[in-house]
C-alpha cells in the first residue's frame, strides 16, 4: 500500500515570493519522516506540496518534481483531486465535519465523492478505519453522535480514521498534536508508530522530542532570515540528527540554542 516519495529540486512560490527553495529529498515507504525547523521555515508549505494542498491558496505554485513511486504529481494531465486521494492529510487542529456523525465522518471521503457503497461494506470500512486509528473501542456505541462531541484527541484520531478510510498510500500530518494535551498526544504518537506498517508517514512537528520519539528519519529546515526562502539543511536518520548532525545550524537548533 505504501509508496515512496522522491522530490527533485522543488521551489515553492507564493506569487513572486520564493517560499521554499531547492528541496530534494527521498522518503522511504513504510517509514516515519519528521520535518523540524523554526517557525516560518517552510516545512508546512513544503508538506502541502506533497499532495498539492498548497494550490488551495491563491497564487501558490511550484517548480520541480515530486515523484510518487516514479509518477510525477505535477506532470501534465494530473488532477490534484486524484493526487489527494492517494496522499492523505491530517491537520494541526482536529477538523471533523460538524454536520456529520462519527460514522459519516469516517465515510466522508467515500460519500462526498458519491461513490456507491453497500451498508455492510460501509460498516466494515468504518470499523476497520476506526480500529486503525485506535478509536473503535471508544466510539463504537455512539457512531451516530456528532463527531464534534468528542474530545480533542479523539477528534484528531477521528480525522486520521477519516484519512485512512480512503486508503491512501501516504499520510501527511501537519503538527497533528500541537492543539492536544499530553495524554492525547501520547495516543497519537502510538498510533503513528502503528500506521508506519501500512503507510508512508510524513509529520511536521515543532516538538523535537516528538520527532525523536516517532520518526525514523528527520529533515531539518531553516531560513537565513525574514523574507529569505526556506531550505532543507540536513536530512538523515533521526539518531544522527539529534546526536551527531553534520551541520552547525542543525546542532544549534536541536540543542535548543535557537528557534
Amino acid at each position: 500500500m505504501s509508496k515512496r516519495i522522491d522530490v527533485k529540486d522543488l521551489n515553492v512560490y507564493y506569487g513572486n515570493f520564493l517560499a521554499v527553495q531547492d528541496v530534494s529529498i527521498n522518503i522511504e515507504p513504510r517509514s516515519v519522516t519528521a520535518f523540524i525547523g523554526p517557525s516560518g521555515c517552510g516545512k508546512s508549505t513544503f508538506l502541502r506540496t506533497l499532495n498539492r494542498m498548497h494550490e488551495v491558496l491563491p497564487g501558490a505554485r511550484v517548480e520541480g518534481e515530486v515523484l510518487l513511486d516514479g509518477e510525477n504529481l505535477y506532470g501534465p494531465g494530473v488532477d490534484p483531486v486524484t493526487v489527494r486521494s492517494h496522499v492523505g492529510m491530517v491537520f494541526q487542529r482536529p477538523n471533523p465535519f460538524p454536520t456529520m456523525s462519527i460514522r459519516d465522518n469516517v465515510l466522508a471521503g467515500v460519500k462526498l465523492n458519491n461513490k456507491r457503497i453497500s451498508k455492510s461494506d460501509a460498516d466494515d470500512l468504518v470499523e476497520r478505519s476506526l480500529t486503525g486509528a485506535n478509536l473503535w473501542k471508544e466510539v463504537r456505541d455512539r457512531l451516530d453522535k456528532p463527531g464534534s462531541g468528542l474530545s480533542g484527541g479523539q477528534q484528531q484520531r477521528l480525522c486520521i480514521a477519516r484519512a485512512i478510510a480512503v486508503s491512501p498510500e501516504v499520510i501527511l500530518m501537519d503538527e497533528p498534536c500541537s492543539a492536544l494535551d499530553p495524554i492525547s498526544t501520547l495516543a497519537i504518537e502510538d498510533l503513528i508508530e502503528e500506521l508506519k506498517s501500512d503507510y508512508t508517514v510524513v509529520i511536521v512537528t515543532h516538538n523535537m522530542q516528538q520527532a525523536a520519539r516517532v520518526s525514523d528519519k528527520t529533515a531539518f529546515f531553516n531560513i537565513a532570515g525574514t523574507g529569505k526562502p526556506g531550505r532543507l539543511i540536513e536530512y538523515a536518520d533521526t539518531p544522527v540528527i539529534f546526536s551527531n548532525p553534520a551541520e552547525q545550524a542543525t546542532e544549534d537548533y536541536v540543542s535548543g540554542r535557537f528557534g
Binding site: R93, F97, P98, T99, A108, L112, S148, G149, C159
Partner: protein, 369 residues
Amino acid sequence: MLDTTSALSRPGSLLTKNRLPRYTPWIVLAAALILGAALSALIGFSVTSFAIFTAVLFVLGGTVVTWIVEGRRHAVDRLATNLVCGAFLLALLPLVSVIFTVLVRGLPGLSPDFLLTSMGGMTGAVDNATTDNGTAVLGGAYHGIVGTLLITFWATVISVPVGLLAAVYLVEYSRGGTLSRAITFFVDVMTGIPSIVAGLFAAAFFGLVFGPGTRTGFVAAVALSVLMIPVVVRSTEEMLKIVPNELREASYALGVRKWRTILKVVVPTAISGIASGVTLAIARVIGETAPLLVTAGFVNTINFNAFAGWMSTLPTFIYRQLMSPTSPTNTDPSTQRAWAAALILIVMVMLLNLGARLIARIFAPRTSR
C-alpha cells in the same frame, strides 16, 4: 497626609465626598412627577403634556442637582445618561403604539369569514346596509392572502437560487478580482433601491416585452426579487464566510472536488444561517406595498394564477381599503377590514422573524462537547 488611612476608613469622606446618594434619581423623579402634574394642570391636564413636562423636569433637575453637588463633569455625564435612556424609551413609543393599534383595531374584524372570503361582489351598498343594520362586516382578505403567498412564493423561487449561487461565487470562487468587487458593490447598491423603483422596473420590463399595462402576480414577483436578491446574497455571504477554512481543506485532503466540497460540506455547515437569512428576506418583501401597486394591480376577486390577470395582496388590500373605501359614505367597514388585514400581515411577518431565529437555533451544527 497623616490621617489618610483613618479618612479612608471613615464613611462619607475622600472617596465618597461630593457624591450624591444612590437614591437621588428617584427623589428627582418624584419631584418631577409632582411638578409636571402641576404644570400640566395649569394648561389643562392631559397625559401627553404631563409626560413631556415630567421628562423635561427630570432631565433638567437631575443635571442641576448633580452640577451643584458633584460638579460640571458629572452633570454632563448625568445629562447624557438621561438623554440616552430617554431616546430608547422614545423609540419604544411608536412600536408599542403601532402594535397596540393593530391589535385593538384589527382583532374585532378578524374572523374565519374574513380569512376565507374575498371582496368579490362587495359593493358600497353592502357596506351601507351593514352600517345601517349594525350587522357583521362582510367580505374578507382571502384573495389578498392568496396573492401575497403566491407572489412571495414566486419571488422566493427566483431570488434564492440566484442569491445563493452568487454568494457561493463571491465567497468560494472569486479571488478578489474586478468582477467580484463589482458584484459586491452593486449588491450593496441594490439593497438601497427604493421599492417603488423596483416595481417600476418590472412594470417597464414586462410592459416593453408583453405590451403596455401587463400586470400579473409574476411581474410583482420579479419586482420583489429585485429587492430580495441582495438580502439573500449578503446574508448567505456572511454565513459562508464563517465556515472555517479547515473544513474545506479537510474535504480537499480527502480527494473531494471543490464543487462537491461546497455543496456537501460548506453549504450544509452554513445551512442554518442561510435558511434564517432567506426567511428574513421573505419577511422583508412580504410586507412590501409600493412595488405591488404598480405591478400586480388590485382586484376584489380571487386569482390563483400568477401568470395572468391582476392579483391583490394583503398590503395593497390594506392600502385600497384605506385610500378608497368600498363605500365612500360609510368607511368604517373598510377601515375595520384594513386593520384586520394589517393584523394578519404583521402576524405573518412576526412568525417569519420568529421562524428565522428558530431555524438558526435548531439547525445549527451541534458543536457542543
